[in-house]
Amino acid sequence: MSVPATDRPTSTQHTEHSVESLSSWLADRIALYLQRSPSEIAPSVPLAEYGLDSVAALSLCGDIEEDFDLVLEPTVAWDYPTIDALAGHLVEELRDVQSEAR
């Protein structure tokens, strides 16, 4: 059995990140953990309402680390409880990392 849904684009580290691109990345990942389609995950609805549990929250941190090289606390999914909030937070964190790198 192949699971193409888990293959990710490899270019994430070199593109400019926007709230929109990150929202769609987050919806894809979260949909995968919750075994549903990304279109069902409304960006303004708290993720807990979709049944996001602590395993999924840790999964999200791991995938963010993997794709953006950004280490976050496992509590991030509770501190920024919606896709909108998480995407906003990620954009800021990535901007900080980039300005430090310069």
Partner: protein
């Protein structure tokens, strides 16, 4: 294998034999590039003697000592230090900010009458503050990672016997009333031997994994089994695995791991989250035993994992479904090594009536996964009618009863419960002596044990055994917006009623709540042929689980009857409504707006 008088004696012997060879390798959260921490046998022995001398000097031999550590080598030194001192180790999860953990650990300190707490320097201030706040003024705290605390030369061999307690395993009982299984040195030696026999482990194999050390599967299977064998254990933290499941596969590949394991969900996680890119260069061909236990083993999971990872050298016959519990130290049965997991398709209605039969052409079936067989040197396993206490014949479902030298003597200071649970006798075969009642339901077919559910959670309606897990799975299949569920029975004066509680993400639902409740009722009537008069749809987060993720159906039943459950939508029979304190199910007020908002 020589006979050892205690597990402490075994570790002393292994340390002499192995010297500077690694006892453990711990992989940090930093991933593959980071340098792992190593603990040679000689250093483990020296650290354990140092700590043991401190414990002996402080009068803690024979007393209970709580171990509060994150996953890591310091836990292992502290655990062996307790054994060397003749103290009784009490492993527990390090309390986090979540209030529940603190409450549970406080209950353990009280129940076990703990004399000291061992932890890391970075946590000792928090631990002292918590102990003071709870009024445990006579409990000493010691940080064990800040250099020597005693004098290894001052250590005295406590002269333990196999009957002496090695540790208390707190895995069962509720948060407020935890029960500590009393595991003796003899139990520990017997079960490590049973594991090695069942999995055919030898001293040239590498054993390891990511399971928590305060849990029986991690402690007995991944920490103490390598010591018993005299080999190396490769370990990492549960958080490392959950963040990035591919790390587990990298560990297997990098260190040539032969034996590892986890609950069923861990294998689902690997199938879902490990990417093709992460699998590049991964070689799983060294794996001989992949334990799957602690929660129901699913045939689908075994198939999906085997297919996904076969191209990377994974051999499906390495899958090792097994059965056991803290009360038996750990393992009771395991899959025969000469072949893979045994799947058995059975007639669904036969199973509801309590027998394994069929499958019959055209009739609904269920697939059971065998938990394997017990070795007769280690265990005697019987299936017994839980009411008449008469042994049931092969093919008939009953309660699983176990005896053998791995079975603990009981729960710490619970003589009444122990007489019932650890001192049961089979009607008509009293001369065989006493048995452990596991509370699990199962069936023996030949020597193969199939676990079918939990005794207390089973619902008996119209002479049918309804397994909550089956009903919950069926209801979840109705709509992806349906989450975890708890199914249980309530008794209204001699008549049992099924109550179905399910979490639902109302905003994501394709129909409305009322339609969904009706669909669930129709499904249950059709599939299980029992009335489903009571359906509660609740918010995500309402269904209670244990720390290991098991649905707490008995607790959910209690909450339901006390009127403590709030439903987004509910249908309840009048005769059941009469049983609820307050006379009705509380309705959630914001249900309608959230439904409208997302449409």
């Amino acid at each position: 294998m020589a006979e050892f008088g205690s597990f402490a004696e075994l570790v002393l012997t292994r340390s002499d034999e192995r010297g500077d060879a690694d006892a453990f390798v711990f992989l940090s959260d930093g991933g593959r590039g980071a340098e792992p921490e190593r603990l040679p046998y000689r250093e483990l022995d020296r650290s354990a003697k140092d700590l043991a001398s401190w414990l002996q000097e402080h009068g803690l031999s024979g007393r209970q000592v709580l171990l509060l550590y994150p996953s890591g080598l310091d836990f292992i030194k502290a655990f062996i230090g307790c054994l060397y001192a003749g103290a009784v180790a009490v492993p527990a999860p390090l309390p986090s900010e979540q209030g529940q953990h603190f409450r549970r650990v406080s209950s353990i300190v009280r129940d076990a009458r703990v004399g000291a707490v061992l932890t890391l320097g970075q946590h000792s201030a928090d631990v002292q503050a918590w102990l003071a706040a709870e009024g445990f003024s006579d409990v000493v705290t010691l940080a064990t990672d800040r250099g020597p605390v005693g004098a290894a030369g001052a250590w005295r061999d406590p002269g333990l016997s196999r009957d002496d307690l090695a540790f208390l395993q707190y895995t069962s009982g509720s948060t407020n009333s935890p029960k500590g299984v009393m595991v003796s040195h003899g139990n520990l030696l017997a079960n490590e031997a049973a594991i090695a026999r069942s999995a055919q482990n030898t001293s040239d194999m590498v054993i390891g994994g990511w399971l928590p050390f305060y849990h029986d599967m991690g402690l007995i299977g991944h920490v103490l089994q390598p010591l018993w064998l005299g080999t190396v254990g490769v370990l990492m933290s549960p958080v490392s695995f959950l963040r990035r499941p591919a790390r587990w596969l990298e560990m297997i590949s990098d260190y040539g791991v032969h034996g590892t394991g986890g609950p069923n969900f861990a294998y689902d996680l690997c199938v879902r989250r490990v990417t093709d890119a992460q699998l590049e260069g991964i070689d799983l061909s060294t794996l001989r035993t992949l334990c799957n236990g602690a929660e129901p083993v699913r045939a689908e999971t075994i198939r999906a994992f085997s297919e996904r990872f076969a191209p990377h050298g994974f051999r499906p016959d390495a899958f090792f479904p097994c059965y056991g519990m803290a009360e038996t130290t750990l393992l009771v049965t395991g899959t025969r090594k000469e072949r893979g997991a045994l799947l058995r398709e059975v007639d669904a209605s036969g199973l509801e009536r309590g027998s394994i039969e069929g499958p019959y052409l055209g009739a609904p079936t269920r697939t059971l996964v065998s938990s394997g067989v017990a070795n007769e040197e280690d265990f005697d396993v019987r299936v017994v009618d839980p009411n008449s206490l008469v042994e049931r014949p092969g093919g008939q479902v009953g309660e699983i009863w176990v005896r053998g030298s791995s079975v603990a003597s009981g729960y710490w200071e619970r003589p009444e419960v122990n007489a019932e649970v650890f001192g049961a006798r089979i009607t008509g075969q009293e001369e065989l002596g006493t048995w452990l009642r596991t509370g699990d339901l199962g069936v023996l077919e030949g020597a193969e044990l199939f676990v079918t559910g939990r005794l207390k959670e089973m619902v008996l309606i119209n002479g049918r055994n309804i397994y909550p897990y089956d009903v919950e799975s069926a209801v979840r299949g109705l709509d992806p917006a349906i989450g975890a569920g708890a199914v249980f029975g309530v008794d209204s004066g001699g008549q049992e009623h099924l109550v179905v509680v399910h979490e639902v993400r109302a905003a994501a639902l394709s129909s409305d709540l009322k339609t969904l409740a009706t669909a669930a009722q129709r499904l249950i009537v059709r599939e299980f042929a029992v009335p489903a008069g009571n359906v509660l749809l609740v918010r995500p987060g309402t269904i209670r689980r244990t720390t290991s993720g098991k649905i707490q159906r008995t607790l959910m039943r209690k909450l339901f009857l006390s009127g403590a459950l709030t439903a987004l939508h509910s249908v309840v029979e009048p005769s059941v409504t009469a049983l609820i304190e307050g006379g009705e199910v509380t309705a959630a007020v914001e249900a309608a707006p959230s439904l409208v908002a997302v449409g």
